[in-house]
Symmetry: D3
């Protein structure tokens, strides 16, 4: 009977989210630990079956680094920035598209739904532009460094995604973009996920990472529910600082461009995703317009 009560309590959320698009950025530990990933994918398949349109965007930085080392290729950094030469790009593509992406798709199948793995090359989905050289101080001297095959997103073509979603598939997207001449470029997964959420006019954008949510400077408090203006105040007042700020900014950009809710949750804890979506108080941070 407990089962029944739970379902009944979940009903209002299920109704509210029915038919809505949810773009989920998968990152952090879940990309390396297969048990964690299993749970997350199972949760997403559940969301799919109770009526949401789920789109997954994943990262994979640590895995790329470890595979590069396994292949005897030393990652290069200049002034703290990673240099992506052609060989690095190839390894990144192999790891992101061939290993992580295709692996998520088969996990989705294992839990009973149907995924379709995509890179930004597919259907010209993510159009990007090689980023300009960055000024970096090396040995007390400012240098202009070409970061290589890395791109800023210029445009999302959502037709392919929309077609797949409407036929009941779960698209899984690797953060590879393409310039207008058809050359692949590494793009930032967080940015890609946000832009895709905007292009799809998603209801929710969910960023799953290794932190429990937006916290104050002393990490003594997690903010579970924030409006845009509250979030901005907390930043202005210096209460939210450091790495929290770009995460918040990405959420705010989504909300200011048509997405209704943005969430930041810790993907490493069992079923955090469901707890965040199906309980009133939530477990991570939810930001909404007002």
């Amino acid at each position: 009977m407990k089962r029944v009560d739970v379902l009944m309590e979940a009903l209002p959320y299920i109704q509210q989210f029915h038919g809505k698009t949810v773009v989920v950025k998968l990152g952090g530990h879940a990309m390396i630990d297969s048990d964690t990933l299993d749970t997350v994918i199972q949760d997403l398949v559940l969301l799919h079956y109770v009526g949401m349109k789920v789109v997954i965007v994943h990262g994979g930085g640590p895995e790329i680094t470890s595979k590069m080392k396994a292949m005897g290729k030393e990652p290069k950094f200049v002034g703290g920035l990673r240099i992506t030469d052609l060989e690095t790009l190839e390894i990144a593509q192999m790891v992101l598209v061939g290993k992580i992406n295709d692996g998520i798709v088969s996990l989705i199948a294992r839990f009973g739904a149907q995924g379709v793995g995509l890179s930004g090359n597919d259907g010209n989905m993510i159009i990007a532009k090689k980023i300009s050289p960055k000024k970096v101080v090396v040995d007390d001297e400012e240098q202009e460094i070409d970061l290589g095959h890395v791109g800023d997103i210029e445009e999302i073509n959502p037709e392919l995604l929309e077609g797949l979603i409407n036929k009941g598939y779960i698209p899984v997207i690797a953060p590879i973009g393409m310039d207008r001449k058809g050359h692949s470029l590494n793009v930032n997964a967080d940015t890609a996920a946000g832009e895709i959420a905007i292009a799809l006019k998603a209801y929710k954008f969910i960023n799953m990472s290794d932190i429990d949510g937006i916290m104050n400077a002393g990490r003594t408090r997690t903010y579970h529910r924030l409006t845009i203006s509250e979030a901005k105040s907390l930043i202005n007042e210096g209460i939210i600082v450091g790495g929290m700020i770009p995460k918040l900014d990405a959420c705010i950009k989504c909300l200011e461009n048509g997405v209704s809710y943005a969430h930041i949750i810790n993907g490493n804890k069992n079923h955090n995703l469901l707890l965040e979506l199906f309980t009133r108080e939530g477990i991570g941070t939810m930001i909404k317009k007002e």
Copy 2:
């Protein structure tokens, strides 16, 4: 966290039933007791939201009788059979279509889905034929009794239902049929529900009544899972007797005409419907082909 476990355990059932049509006959106590009806409708709305196509057929005998008495019209019986004169038919229609049916539709709205109330007149859905007079022994004498405006179902036109289901409505059907000249006739709700399940090629036919399931003669055992052949054996061996037999026969007719599963459950116990569908052992009786 329990909530999450429950949802995870429900997932395989949700997947299995996804997009499938379920025809539910609502009868018995639930037609009179509003708390019971609330729970049942809430369960059905949940089934709708997790992806099933729900169709409701309801009865209402006791309510008709009580309303007749309230209107000073004495129900007439000859040899145990109810006589449905024109006035009785009118009261039945008012109670079934105007009170019970429209009431269920507004309950569905209250729990967040959209219902459409129908009688068999709508879209020529239930075509029936006035039943022939019955031979009845009255005062030791056999008489032929005309039961009045009561019909046997000849044909179901499912187009209207299919159109509504595919647009996401929950059809709610009162057991009123129509003869080929456009005259209304009372039809048996169990039969109507079964025929509709067959016409819709439903996945499940669920009969909710006041009994816990199919039981043996001594009511010492409830059979939770039966195949058609097991059910027939139990009848032949005299283990299942009496009023249980027509209930079983109705289920078997469905199964032999394309329905995959038939269930008999007690609608008066809280959330029995979910327990029957979302647990392996079930709580009522499920009959399947083999």
Copy 3:
């Protein structure tokens, strides 16, 4: 051969109305007299078959009153206003939805088309709000009277109607609305019909009642064709007075919200509907924008 001439004379009207939506309010005597109703429904089925999209909204006040009395329930009025307690609402719903509405649907079937009976609960079609208490003078004292379960229409959701019309059904609508919590409310049938005509962007709104059309104060003249401005002048000049005014106002509201023509005709005279639509001079009153 006369038959043929008539068809030829009807052709220009048939062409003009082809594929257009016509919302017809059925009221008055036709709701009680079955021969009158037969003729009206036959006319409407003809309109359907020559290509119009017919939507019927009906009233039923007198029938409710008579059924209340039959059930030993005395209609209550305070200061001339009817009080609708829960029991009254139940009787109204039974009469409107279970008797009149379902009866019209079977008549439509009898004349060879397919109707679908609806209340405002179906598909959340008529969203209403309980009306505020009215100030009434009783025994020389002003009192605030709660009229009970009566609603003002807030919103029409036309999707269900549009779906049914496009599949060739004739929707028949009882004047029952629903508040946002799923409670039924009695609504005014004239208002409901007008709002539905507006929501469907109907071509014609036809109000069938017991009067021959808009007449002057002395009832010496019937106005067959009026523009909005002519109608307003006649009111301002005191030529049209009394109960004619709200009827005209309802028509004007439709015309000012996208309906092309509004008609007021006497539904009790044989085939008035066809005479009004298929002859140049008409037989009731037609109001158009200019």
Copy 4:
């Protein structure tokens, strides 16, 4: 009020024919006399507006002959058969497609519907094959005569017609076919109409000519209603003879290939078409399967 009665009497026929396809062969006098043609087209537009899907196939022999003479081209006949050389074919095409066909289309527009004129070349609709030379006795000698650009129909491609019908156009077809190399050929209009009725699985095939219907040898009796077997008996018994036989055979071929009713009526009498379709006794000959 007579108007109304007529409409009411027409209603059952309108219902019965609703949405059905009617292929009408227009021939004889109506092709030359513009008043007659006006009436016929008006009737067909009425059928269109009361819900039938009308397809017109027309002939035009006499008009071709008169235009040939006007152009100083003497029609050639050998042993009673017309020879169609290239020049004759060109004149036939100009008259049939450019004058008669386009003229019917503008008449349809004048009466308020939309026609689309077609030859068998359009959309590869009528695929024909040059007929083999005929043996003819000329001056007591048997000769093989090549009749020229005349074709037997091999295949009807109905896709273009179906597309136009479903969008509400009235297709008007000239009896020009095309061989598999794209050369135009004159084809028999009666045959073309019959084959098109079969290809469209039409409900009715109506042959409008200059005779009142199927008559006995002495022309003392017109048969208004016949079954296939009755028709065959009348032929076998020598009661129906001569030119009536090929007309009957064409109807029987339609009926044996899926058409439900075939009619032969005199197109020269005012509104015969409506009288045949909208009265029980009819005015020409109707043949049905049994």
Copy 5:
């Protein structure tokens, strides 16, 4: 291998034009010389098969004149303007619709695609209005001359065309319009083609005539690529004069109403159409917005 290189060079043009609508005006010599017409139609069928949506509008003045003479009807001119009496209109319709139009359709079939021949009567496509009498000086006296059944285009109804194009047919249109009462009128083919290009929001409007393109006054230079402003300058500076100006104006009207490119090419030279479309430098004149 040369074949392959050519295909590869054509690829970028094929890509650019894919799915785009091209309205081609066929006129001049090609209407009389069957070899020239063969080549042009073959080119158009190729354009169709590599993915363009081709619409053909043709003229036929010389052919009408020669057929009139053959029929002993002398063309009448007053003050240089042709008078189109009813008989002339009939001949024009026969030649344009029955001979030229149907002939192009069978040519299209011969080269492997499917055409549909249309006049402006079909689907009420070209609505025109009889032109007003023109003032003409005859024998030193100004007279008002009624040019007869000649029309100015008022409106294009593109629905029929759009339906045919989307189903893969090549529409072929004769320059016959219809007034609002259903009377046919001769219309100018160049104007009809331009208006149809605008109504279809075509990508290209191509005018095939007997000149090589837009040339300067001395005919010493052909302008292959022009912008609207360049064209206007050349006219203003008196470099482009005479009959070139109306041709340019027609192109400019298209470009200012949504068409992207207008071309003027000589249809008498083999495959000029393909050379113009599939080479960078082109062979006639292409005008674009800027």
Copy 6:
């Protein structure tokens, strides 16, 4: 002008193949040499633009082997068979899906069309079953060898492919299958391509490899056009031997299961694909049913 002649000569082939599905297996040298691959992809994009529905299935064995070595993983063979342990599978997936597949997709974009890269995991497209251990003689002793994560294809689910093709994408498929529990398996690319051609009811199956076509034992003759029965005779008579036989068998299997034509061509020679398809004599081997 040569350009134009070539296009005209290609037209009959373009017409014949229009709208037809072509499944192309890309293998051999083209998988390693980027210039060769460029040309092949350019050809395929041309086929796409002239109206064919192109589906690409690729291999990649040599690339996997070289990448394994680069990663310090020695390919293992027992008795001549490759052993695919988990690590080998991971490398294969990374190379096939992440490098080759995604690379082909970006090449397609570069040449102006839109590809979608897929593995058999996507949409549960290729369902396979781990192959049973093989008996192998090692050191004169027969052993049962488990080949590891290698699968035989059991079922193709073509829905995803069909959806993408109909929206104008070019699917690119890596030879990775999935067992019914969601585990990835290496599958043979030739077999995958053939099964996909059958599942899509393709018009053509084209196997591009490193040989010029089917040759006799002495490699003195290439057979350009063969029927199934001719091919079987040549095998039976010992004229075709060795590795040619499985290639022929794969083609024959396709032809016997609904594919119309099978081709074997050398993908390393410039534009062989177009020469094979667009010339009568062809350049490789074409096998058809009879």
